[in-house]
Amino acid sequence: MAQAVAAPLPLPANRGPYAARLALKLVEEALGPLCRAVLKCLLDHGMQQYGDLARTSKLPQPQLRAGLLVLIQHNYVNVYLKQEPPTLRGPGPSYSLYEAALPRILQGLRMPRFLTYIMDEHGPTSQQLICTLLEHGRLRWDQVLGAVTEAAAKQEEGEDGEEGDGSPPPTPDVVLNQFRSLVIERFIERVPPCTLPPPAKQVHPNARKKVATPKPGSEEEAALHREQSEALVRQAYQEERFQLPADLLGGQPGKAGDEYAGSGKAGDKRKRGKDAAGEEPAKKKGRKKADAAAAAADEATAAGGKDGEKEAESVLWRVNYDEFNRRFRNEVIVETVKAKYGQDAGNAVLGLLLANARFEASAQTGETVVLGVNEISSALRRQYGNDLVPEHLGEVLSELSEDVLQFLEAHGHGPGGEQFVMNIPQVLNLARLLELESVVRNKFGEHGMRIWRLLFATGQLEQKQVSDMAMLTKEEAREKLYAMLKAGYVTLQDVPRTADHAPSRTFYTWRAKLEPALARLSSDLYRAAGNLHARLMHELDRNQELLDMLETPGISDAMIQRRTAEIAKLKAVTSRLEAALLDLDAQICIFADV
C-alpha cells in the first residue's frame, strides 16, 4: 500500500557538502576521530566494499574494523548485501556494501527533541526506553529491558530524598507494555537486516525511459527477475519492520524480564552486541544466509549458552527517526493550515494526516492515499475524542479543496463518504515559503523581501522593471538584486539578441523560484549548523583547562569559588550555542528531512 505513493526524490541539501561536513563533526564529537576517518572515506567515495574501504582509508585493518563496527552499531552506516548475477560456472559472488547513513547522522542533532516529545506523549518510562536505544544505537529486547530497569534503579538511588516523584521503578511488565506501544506507534523499528539488497537506483522522472518487456530467456529478463526478487526482500523487511515477535506480543513478559534482569550492565551488553556484530565482516566472505541480526544474536546466545529458539532474542531494535520527523511535520502542517484557514480546517487536516499515518512508509510522502470523510473523522475521534471533530467535516474539506492553493483534491464519493487526497509538499512549501521570506527580509532588508516577492509573483523581470514595480531607486534595486544573486536566492538569465552575447545587445532577466531558493536555504542551514558546532567545540577547547579542573576529583570549593565568573560565562556561552543549534535543527527538519 505504501509503495503506491511514489516518494519524491530526496532533497539534495541533506547530501550536500555542508551536510557532510556537519555529519563528520557530529560523528567525531560522539564517536571519536577513528570513526570520523572511516565515515569520511565512506562519504567521499560513496557506497563501497570492505576491501575498497581498507584501500581508500589507509587505516590498519583492526582499526578500520573497529571503527566500522561502532558506526554500524550506531546505525550511522547502512550495510547491504549485493548479489552478482550467476555466471556459467555457478552462482555469482555476493559481497557486503557499506554506505554512510548521512540523514541519520545529521538527525542525531534532534535527539533531545525526540526525548522531549516522547516524554510529553508517553511518559518517563518510554523516554528511558528511547533514550537507551538512542544511546546504544541498536539493542535486543533483553538488553533494552536490562538497561531501562537499571537506569530506573540508579535514578531511585541518586534521587532518594530529593525530588523523587515517588513512583516506583517500572516493572518489566510495564516496560514491555511501553515497548510494545512504541513499536506499534512506529517509534521503534527492527534494524534492517544486512542481507538487504542495495537500494534501487532512483532515476529522475524526466530521465525515465520506457523499456519494452524483455524477451523470455534474455539477459534483460533475468535482470528484471533479479530486480523483482530484490524488491520482494525489501518488501518483506517493510512488512515485518514494526512487527513484534510472538513472544513479546503475548508470551510471558515476566519470565523474559526475570531471565535478563540480573545479567550484567547495559554497557556490557552493548559491547557484547558489538562483538557479536564484529563477526560480521569475517563471515561476509562465506555464504551469507542468515541476516546479521540473527547472526549477532546467535553468537551472543551461543556464548551465553542459552536457548536460541526465541525469536525476540534475535531481533535488534532501533529508534525510527522518520516517525518523529513525520509527527513534527504534521505539527507544522496543522499549524499552517490553522493559521491560514482557521481552527476547523486545521482539525480536518489533522484528522486526514492521522488517517493516512498507517499508509506512510517515510516522512517524505508526496500525497496521502484517497481518504473518505468517515475515515478521517473516526481517526480524529480515536485520538482526541469528539471535541476536535468539526461539525461539518465534509463541508470544511470540500471548501478547502476549492482553495486556490490546491493542496487538497476531491476524489468523488466512496464508501466512506466524500473522498480526498492531500498533497503534503504543497502545504509544507507554504510553511517553508514564509520562513524563506523571513530569511530574505532579515538578510537583505525590507526592500530585499519586496523585490523577492515581486519576482516570485511575476516570474521574470528586467532590472528596470524591478526598480519600477518595487518603487525603489535604480541603485537600491541593483544593490539588492546582486546581493541576492550572490547569496543564491535569485537567478539571472541572459537573453542575447545576437549570437555574440554582447552585453549591450542582451536582455538580463531576474527570477525568484521556490525550489532553488529552498535548496539554497537548506544548504545554508547545514552550513550555519556546522559553523555553530565548530564554534561550540572551539569554546570548549579554549576552556579545556577549566573543564579539566571541574572534573578533577576532590577539588576544593575555594578553587571553584575563585573562578565562579569564568565558569558561569562558559556555561552561558555553551548553552546559548547549544540552544541555537537545537533551534536551527528544528528548522532543518522542515526544510531537509520531510
Binding site: 499552517t336 514564509l434 523571513s438 518603487m471 545554508d524 565548530a534 560565562k569 541555537a580 536551527l584 528544528a586
Partner: protein
Amino acid sequence: MTSKKAVEEMILAVCRKHPEGIQDTLLEKELPDVPVNDRAQAINALLSSLKLQILVNPADPSSHIYKANSIGDAARFKHLNAEDMLVYQCIQAAGNMGIWTRDMKQRTNLPQPKINKILKQLEERLLVKSVKSVQNASRKVYMLYELEPAKELTGGPWYGENAFDSEFISVLQEATMSYIKSRSDATLSDIVRFIKETGISKQALQEDDVQRIINTLDYDGKIEGMEVEDDDGDMVIHYRLPLMRVPASTAFTSIPCGVCPVFTECVEGGKISPQTCVYYQSWLDQLDF
C-alpha cells in the same frame, strides 16, 4: 487678372478650411481660376512670410501638404529662417516625449553647433523648452514650450526634484496602511478617495498610481488582496491585513551566520572562520551571566 495679394488671401482661406493640411492637387481644384505660376508665386510668398507652412504628408510621405499658420504664429516666428523652422518642426513632431539634440542632428542634417545656436534662440523666444529626463539623467530633451512633459519623462508623481522621492512613497505607504488597518478591509477606489481627501500628494494620484503603492505593500507582506463579489456581481479586490504574517525572525537568522555579510567567505582555518568570527564574539559577549 487677380492681384498677387488676392491670390494669397484665397489660398490662405482655403488652407484655413482644412486645418489638417491640404495637398497641392486639392488646392488646384479649389482654385480653378488661378494659373499655376501665380499659385506658386503666392505660395512662396506666403511661406517666406511664415503665414503658411509646408509639411510632409503624413498619409503619403512622398507628397507634401500646406497648412495655414494661426494669426499669432506669424508674429511669433518673425525673423526665423528656414533652418530655425526646421529645428522647430522637428521638436514639434516629437510631441510631449521631447527630443534629444543628437537625434535632432540626425533628423535635420544640421551640424551640432548650429543646432545649439538655434535652440538657444528658440528657448529665448519661449518657443521651446528643455526638460531633464528621469531615464537618462544626463540627457536634456527639447519640446514645445506649451507642452506638459510626458509621464515617462518626468517619472510621474514619484519624482521630486529630478530624483526619486522615496520619502514620499513611504509616507503614502504608511497612510495607506493606517487606512486599511482602521477599516480592516478596503478597495482600491476607497484608498484613492482617502488619499485625495488627506491631500498628501500635491499632484492628483490616479488609480494606477495608487495601485502601485498597494502592490508594494502587498510585496512587503503587509496586506493581502482578496477577490470579493460586490453588489453588482463583479469581482472586486479587497485589501486587508494578511492572515499569515511573515515571521519576524527564524532560527537561522537569529544566529550571526544567518545575517552574516561574509557567510560565503567563511571557511574553517581561513581568514574568516567560525572560530575567529567577530560577529559570534559580540553575540556571545552580549550574554549576561
